[in-house]
Symmetry: D2
Subunit: 332 residues, 4 copies
Amino acid sequence: MSIGIGIIGAGVMGADHARTVASAVGGAHLAALSDADADRAARVAAETGARRCHADSMALIADPAVDAVLIASPDATHAAFVLACLNAGKPVLCEKPLAATLAEAEVIIAAEKALGRRLVQVGFMRRFDPAYAGMKARLDAGEIGPAVMLHAVHRNAAVPPWFTSEMVITNSAVHDIDVARFLLGQEIVAATVFAPPVPAGALRDRQFLVMETAGGQLATVELFVNAAYGYDVRAELVGERGTLTRAPRDAVALRQSGRESGAFALDWRGHFAAAYQRQLQAWVQSIRSAVPVGPSAWDGYAATAIATACVGGLARGERVAVDIGTRPALYD
Amino acid sequence: MSIGIGIIGAGVMGADHARTVASAVGGAHLAALSDADADRAARVAAETGARRCHADSMALIADPAVDAVLIASPDATHAAFVLACLNAGKPVLCEKPLAATLAEAEVIIAAEKALGRRLVQVGFMRRFDPAYAGMKARLDAGEIGPAVMLHAVHRNAAVPPWFTSEMVITNSAVHDIDVARFLLGQEIVAATVFAPPVPAGALRDRQFLVMETAGGQLATVELFVNAAYGYDVRAELVGERGTLTRAPRDAVALRQSGRESGAFALDWRGHFAAAYQRQLQAWVQSIRSAVPVGPSAWDGYAATAIATACVGGLARGERVAVDIGTRPALYD
Amino acid sequence: MSIGIGIIGAGVMGADHARTVASAVGGAHLAALSDADADRAARVAAETGARRCHADSMALIADPAVDAVLIASPDATHAAFVLACLNAGKPVLCEKPLAATLAEAEVIIAAEKALGRRLVQVGFMRRFDPAYAGMKARLDAGEIGPAVMLHAVHRNAAVPPWFTSEMVITNSAVHDIDVARFLLGQEIVAATVFAPPVPAGALRDRQFLVMETAGGQLATVELFVNAAYGYDVRAELVGERGTLTRAPRDAVALRQSGRESGAFALDWRGHFAAAYQRQLQAWVQSIRSAVPVGPSAWDGYAATAIATACVGGLARGERVAVDIGTRPALYD
Amino acid sequence: MSIGIGIIGAGVMGADHARTVASAVGGAHLAALSDADADRAARVAAETGARRCHADSMALIADPAVDAVLIASPDATHAAFVLACLNAGKPVLCEKPLAATLAEAEVIIAAEKALGRRLVQVGFMRRFDPAYAGMKARLDAGEIGPAVMLHAVHRNAAVPPWFTSEMVITNSAVHDIDVARFLLGQEIVAATVFAPPVPAGALRDRQFLVMETAGGQLATVELFVNAAYGYDVRAELVGERGTLTRAPRDAVALRQSGRESGAFALDWRGHFAAAYQRQLQAWVQSIRSAVPVGPSAWDGYAATAIATACVGGLARGERVAVDIGTRPALYD
């Protein structure tokens, strides 16, 4: 009766997911873990009580004790594992991105379409964040009238040295692209990327993205991946009659040394802890009920397609049209 | 390996706990439910997947499939069930109050002391609330210096017609009494209750409580159980060099009709949802590790003793001394 | 046509008032200054453009160029100067306290009553603070129903070495006493002062005051005059259907070094700058229109009477009754 | 000794300025008023105590009792009156815009340059707003490192029927353009305007402006002039190490009917009341000291030049370059 979860990847994200499954999700248990680094997998398994370790992730997918698969391995491996899950007929929650390339994402869409039922959920966990989910619910309840604009801020305290200008879009902004589609409810048809000139080879760590939807809505995203002061993600959704703002605040206010202050989370793990827990809880429930929830493979494909267009816009320094094609009926 | 939880009581609180165990706590499953109303127990069991229903709660405690017991039955039954759990050697999480009378609470303390190990956790869930827990952690980290005062506000939108003036203290303030002991770290030695005069027989729905600790700290609590506008619980902890404030805020800010606003939860269930989830998660973990966490039977006894003294102070309209006796070494 | 203001006292407060008159109040000019320290008066006059300096403050009151008098000299001198203004028939704004003793305050009331018209305004500037004034206006507009409780916090970063335990009440709390009378609209009939025991001779720098009004309302005041972190004055007014809170916030929010923060003012001058400006502006307007505004001599007397009772309560450690007598019709 | 102010225009803005001079600015008096509507001028004069009314505004400028002129007449008249003030050698505070056309603004610059001293201040009152001024001061103090981005929101509840799509820029955004120059400290060199397509002839009431400075900073402005819910102006200044946010909040928080809320001002007059008062106070002080403060004629010209370029960008739907020329040494 309890769902056996198999997790591919025992790095930072995989280990976090393993801990959440073990301690904060009901109706499921950690059936297996796999990682290219067998020691790492063993350590995480010991900590979280995972029943089995696989050296080969394909073996994990095939393991009969594994009812559903969570993919948290390097991006380049995502598509192959997702396709294997589809082949095995097992529900799969894939950390974003769905695939490392647009072509691979298209293959997944085709495969799931051929299968005729949705097994893939993409790890855009923000849709389960209490604030983003609340904004959507209250928009749908008519509190602010139809949505007309969205303004997002996405700041990281710092990024590692190997972070590239393109990753600012494909790794960071891709979350805001999904949020824009989720909240605005219309497809994105054009994008313009503003990024201050930098010395050759330097990271363009500040970018400003303006997206336009089919219905004339605007979604803007400030990206600043070396913002120094903390991890800070917020957004204001503007409707015809009002606005809804996600403005996270420390649960405790400190008054000390002449200041009243609240602390920022260090990174997305602390900031979105509730979103990750709710994402897994909803996923397990969707497996039990066989009713898909959350972002689909199509949403994963769309975000990748739009991010890819934006990368082109960054390179060319001008407005680019975006056309993600027609959504298959499976995803209606 | 998974802990089998048995829940006594399938009313509002019991059903909520059952849902939380079923969906948001790992490492445990809902083994059994009992309720004096068998239909109600059956309905909640069906919804939450509880494996078994008992008509007799003592049978639930004795059930070998039940590893640990959660008591959410009427207050008058708490003590007998807690004692049965101690007899059975099973860990028990008892909704507050630990017992309906001080005498019963003393019997429990004596029984657990005789047993020589702690099996009882009392459901003062606020200690697991991210904000209260954060205040404690940051106080302990020295952010504000030694604690000198605590100011709490406890407002309910409304209370049912059968609510009494004494229950304002024993049912509502008892949580703030526990928080005061938790955050101030010293025992309460005196209390004064201010309550505006009301017509004979009317509910004294506004009370103001001033407690003094052995070390000269003050803890004040405003109680207003017909505050109309919403459920509102907050607190400021004052240290020698700063303050820490729990000031809950809606995760989403709405700008509409000339106002920027956030919504209040309707009652404690919405307001303290995270606290209830964390309480259960910590309890399950404490069972697995056999290391007690959270408020002990002694904390439950102490809160009852102080609340009882306050009720006397309310009746007499003057400062009352409080003496809860010496804490047994088991609870150090 | 321009009102000639004479200011008695060129210390910190007097100089501040002089600057405000000179730069931020219309329809008036700084006609004269006086101070026991002639050099100090001359310096402030030079800075603010005061037309004349008097060595003798009684001469300033008599000066025909002075249409109205602002008293900012040491407390012990207030009563004599106020009485001289009444004799001279000149409007007077007296910094709090109206008088250093209750007996002197009674003499002033008697004198103004004999005169038959109100010339005295007392410098309880908080009544002109946008937030306190806004709370009063919105209470009167019915936004929260009838007022039932007021909770005030009054913290100073530090006080000078000569500050006494009694001054915590007479110097600091007296403002909150006036605010309580202003917002609750009923007279205070009892008070209890809680203050942790301290070593003999030490300042009781933390006090907690609970006042009761004739109608059963409660007004609480936390006083902490060595709160270290900043000057912090706030209050929540509780009505039967809602609450109104004065929660001052820095006009600018800083996000830096892992925190979002706002700064506190260092002391009351920065914190209440707008209140001081509006107080003077309203006073000048009231002189021009001959319609008194703001706190009257009676309000000054009442605050002194209540503070005096509280000082007794602090000494005796028990609830004290307060009876300020019947308000003369002049002050209706 | 008191500065005699003459105000041209007794409409909404002129009357407000007249009230401020009369009641909340020291060291000056209202010497004269003029308005094409003599009755209107007379009414405002009676209310505010202006000593004289002129039917002809040129006569007001020439009036020897008028030491300095405040222009609050229709935009089309600004340039002529400013030039007359320069001819008369009288300091002038001109409501924005400095001139209705860029050509006129250039004439004013030439005239003031020929005069060789600065007499003109432009009414970009936001520079005197406590929050914007505080952001600038704290930026200059190094609190957030060098400025790299500015994000502004400018929302009106509604605009009158005669408001045009161009006025969204020239009338509303022009304030944000000045703020961007003030806070970023570099000149704007390019601008892109995003505005959703609307039916022919309809007002483009939502526009999004992206400006780039010579040093690669970005300044974005959301304009929404029919935002319905209230007047809402805010901004976040992003530095390399932190951010400073102007986030105005009601001085009083209301808890009622399930919500905690603060009210918005209805329009800019309430929202920027403190800024208007401080602007006039600083202007009077600058006249007395003969040291110019605040936005100069050059700032007025620059804002007009940038707004004009943006209007072109709105029409063409593409990024436009902006070149305002070299700042004359007079304005260094």
